[in-house]
Symmetry: C2
Subunit: 215 residues, 2 copies
């Protein structure tokens, strides 16, 4: 049976999020700074390029013991030998995905409110992303920000390993320390930082990640 | 080993192509008029809805002996129990897809020129769509129209079962009769017809489909 990985710092990126810098460079710096999971989210990239990017990421991350999750596309995850898929509320149902990927790969899902939290099947889903905590410019039409209290509430309700997501930076990560989540998911605070590794370290310190994780 | 199905009239549609009419209605009429394969192509629909639409189509088509092909999304095809996938030049490589789907499901691909035709691996790919034959409003940025002569040439080059595609209607389908292709792929000439079944019959007659297909 699969074990949920160290979720303490969960980086989400697409090829376009690292504009100007090859994404390998950003990822290696971020992992050196303490990123413990990477999700490839590339909604506007064709499947052929997504598979190529996922394979490149997998080759970078596997020797470093960092799991690769692919957003939405179960087929891309399978083709690249990724460690899991992340399925939003518009993506394939977890039950359909589980049939395709078997018992070894992870499934994560996104939860924005109590209704969605109630729909998470803990037999199928391994972890949840809860948010958006803070206002974010990452998505065109975001759900309303739920704040650290909202995150704590949904995390208790779901009862699965969880990361908070949405507008998290080194400056506000400390507000999530008491919410019961296992980690923080971040896009731009790392991808757009001049020094992704330093940004990752700062977020970990602010959240107190190293006090949470055994060892 | 898989056998290539009757390609004589190959309908491509997405939920949005039948605006106003439930797509079941269009598909049933089209199949009654002689459509022999249906491809679901739903680039702008989320995966969850694509799976739901593919399952509905599969339930309609299976009892009628008409195979269902899913465009691009190998995972959607697998989740819906479709009979195959169609992979454009930006979609997953056939080699990756074949590993995911096994030996029973079909793979089709799109070929627009001699370079792409040369890239088709007959060990992996079961049929090709060749075009665009005529000018078409179906895609935002179409490749140049190659005409019936271009279709004949690429069909000879590939040497696999083939359908012509692009701007085909009941009025011009006869021009494809001597090109060596096994059938015609159509979107709007059937989807947008007042009577999809009658449109399908007219295209078949014009192409001489019933003289080509054994039995």
């Amino acid at each position: 049976m699969r074990a949920c990985p160290d979720l303490s710092l969960y980086l989400i990126l697409g090829a376009a999020d690292t504009a100007g810098t090859p994404f390998e460079e950003v990822v290696l710096s971020a992992v050196a700074g303490g990123v413990s999971v990477v999700q490839l989210r590339d909604k506007h990239t064709c499947a052929r390029d997504q598979v190529a990017n996922a394979k490149r990421l997998k080759a970078l991350l596997a020797p470093r013991g960092v799991p690769l999750i692919v957003n939405d596309r179960v087929d891309v995850a399978l083709a690249a030998g990724a460690d899991g898929v992340h399925l939003g509320q518009d993506d394939m149902h977890a039950a359909d995905a589980r049939r395709l990927i078997g018992e070894e790969m992870l499934i994560g899902t996104s939860v924005h409110n109590a209704h969605e939290a109630a729909g998470v099947d803990p037999e199928l889903v391994d972890y949840v992303g809860i948010g958006p905590v803070f206002g974010t410019g990452s998505k065109a039409d975001p759900d309303p920000a739920i704040g650290p209290e909202g995150v704590a509430e949904l995390s208790r309700q779901v009862g699965l390993p969880a990361v908070a997501i949405g507008g998290i930076t080194g400056a506000n990560a400390g507000q999530l320390a008491g919410t019961g989540v296992d980690g923080l998911a971040v896009i731009s605070a790392i991808c757009h930082a001049d020094d992704p590794g330093a940004a990752a370290q700062r977020i970990r310190r602010s959240f107190g990640a190293d006090n949470l994780v055994a060892g």
